[in-house]
Symmetry: C2
Amino acid sequence: MGPRTANLLRDAGIQPSAQRVAVAAYVLETCDHPTADQVWARVRKSFPMISRATVYNTLNLFVKKGLLRQYTLADGKTVFDANVGRHHHFIDERTGRIYDLPWEALSVAKLDSLDGFEVREYHVVVRGRAKSAARRRA
Amino acid sequence: MGPRTANLLRDAGIQPSAQRVAVAAYVLETCDHPTADQVWARVRKSFPMISRATVYNTLNLFVKKGLLRQYTLADGKTVFDANVGRHHHFIDERTGRIYDLPWEALSVAKLDSLDGFEVREYHVVVRGRAKSAARRRA
DNA sequence: TTCAAGACCTAGACTTAATCTAAACGCAAT
DNA sequence: ATTGCGTTTAGATTAAGTCTAGGTCTTGAA
Ligand SMILES: [Mn+2]
Ligand SMILES: [Mn+2]
Ligand SMILES: [Zn+2]
Ligand SMILES: [Zn+2]
């Protein structure tokens, strides 16, 4: 997470300050879907002086630059997603945990015949329970 | 919207107070997907003394009794939906407005082969622009 | 009819997520 | 050294939502 992360930010047109690298090292690597405050809590362990505003600003900057996506899928919680490609989501109803489903795992038919709507993107939101195999995998 | 609405509430096991009938008359009839504060603003026009807490309590009660569904689809906003059957959603990216798509309008394949996940429900969230025809229809 | 008991409602305090503000900081070019 | 600019900071602010404690309304039994 040293110069590799810094270069990743530079390539996206972002000045790699120490705070931004610390946020990136966590949020761009995890396969969780953390909220902003979860990111703050996590990054503060290794960077105790970082402020809440900086974490929020940094996450929003990463979204604007295409390094992150932002979703609100459940509970009114806004989460961040390092998986910026197309994919679907599975929400475990017991734990609230969000899992990624590969784009090819599902297919949606009849989208073109949606009369009156110009479709730009879509994804499937699935709810249920993740079995232990999936919990381990993620 | 007088005794009809009251009976609807009674049938759901809800005591039809004046406040609850006023909330129901709007939120169970609209095909919008209003937030709690939008419901409050609307109901206050005809019932100026109703409190915020009552609107929130009433909406949550309706959800618990199965008269409403609650979604968080975009912008971290929690919205209420009088359409309690299965259906999909279309979000207009310009206006933020949410439209219902009939269940049969789309079909999702390969859901049963989702290894490691026990599916309880799912729906498709589509984003794009609603053409004027759809805007009129809704 | 009266009048508790319980259900319901209300204003306002509180909590939490998120943004805003204005000052301070850090670093590079002059 | 001085300036300037991008970045960070603490704290104030806004907004969604819940909670509390007391007041009001309904209801049904005496
Ligand atoms: Mn609202
Ligand atoms: Mn909020
Ligand atoms: Zn994801
Ligand atoms: Zn709907």
